[in-house]
Amino acid sequence: MKEDNEEQIAALLRLAGPRPRIDDERTARVRAQVHDEWLRGVRQRTRVRWLGAAVAAAAMIAAVMLFIPRQRPAPAAAPSTIVAHVQTILGTTKPPVAMAATVAEGTWIETLAGSALSLDWNGATLRLGEQTKVRLDSARNATLERGTIYFDGHQSNVIIRTALGEIRDIGTQFEVRLRAETLRVRVREGRVDLRRGGESFIADAATELVAGPTSVRKNAIAVSGAEWQWIEEAAPPLRLEGLTLHEALTRVAREKGLRVELRGVDGDVRLHGGVAFTPDEALDAATAATSLSWRIENDTLIVSGRR
């Protein structure tokens, strides 16, 4: 930091003056709830970064052992193919992985309780919820042993194998949850095909398939809301620099399962700033910086000018 920047920051802070102090329990409670919720994503990443630094050696060793082809005496050993890399880590995985670590085909990854992971899987996003165990069999195939995963990508022919059936996507966003004897596939966008026992069950956007050992039923579902929240929390950081307002809002809306509607707003305005945001933070930053307001109605993120 250059000294002249420090002077500018000092001048800004003096202009603003001290922030209002928490002076009673009610204010403290409200502020803590709002503030903590807002900062949760940032803090999780911060914790992960520091934790990552603290256990860097262990993680490096684990990464070397797990994600890099092992040194074997046999000269004919084929190198493993890298099929994914880590975008976001919340909490703990088994084996431990580092940010940006590469993942070779055939690798099992498991998230522990309260943890989540986001992978860039051949250009698509694959997120693992807590207590999830997945093997990346190739750039298009994965095996879900237990837990919850979310796929978001435009490529088709991705296959997720489970003990209760095989899920094939057709350019879409969907979640697969396997718990005990129940497989649930929820589709946000596009369509998926659940195949098992020679039968095929199609789920379109805003529907889910719930499969037990002997039956499959289809239900209508919401494509946004609290049940999808974990996906947003595991989202990779979003940087606004260079994006247009419309691009930024579209990315945020996609994480939330929403459409974007601009009302009297120039979506081509270009944004700046190198801070890594969660989707909520990005939405606040993008609209605050352009003096806009936003609201959500009927699965639509509506952005308009302030009056």
């Binding site: 920051i9 802070l13 700033g273 910086a289």
Partner: protein, 94 residues
């Protein structure tokens, strides 16, 4: 008026604000940015630049060594600058 440089146009623009309304809005944004920083960053910046505490005094409040407080302040300034630029400086290239 503070003498400004070219490398942070967002901050320069903010400080060049002419009327009370603009200053009030800028002040609000500064406080929003402070609230969004990690607690220790926001506190340390306030102690240093508003209350005028020395680095040694801030170190005592934080319960860390003076050197660590210096480092924390440097990180806090960087975080503040980036966050403020993101919130205040967006949106002029159509």
């Amino acid at each position: 008026m503070v003498e400004l440089v070219e490398d942070l146009p967002e901050i320069r623009a903010a400080l060049d604000s002419l009327d009370a309304l603009q200053r009030k809005e800028t002040a609000r944004r500064v406080q929003v940015v402070l609230d969004r920083l990690p607690d220790r960053y926001g506190d340390a910046l306030e102690w240093k630049y508003i209350e005028g505490l020395s680095v040694a005094e801030i170190a005592v409040r934080l319960g860390v060594a003076t050197k660590a407080a210096e480092s924390l302040l440097a990180r806090a300034r960087t975080a503040f600058r980036d966050a403020f630029s993101a919130v205040h400086g967006a949106g002029v290239e159509a």
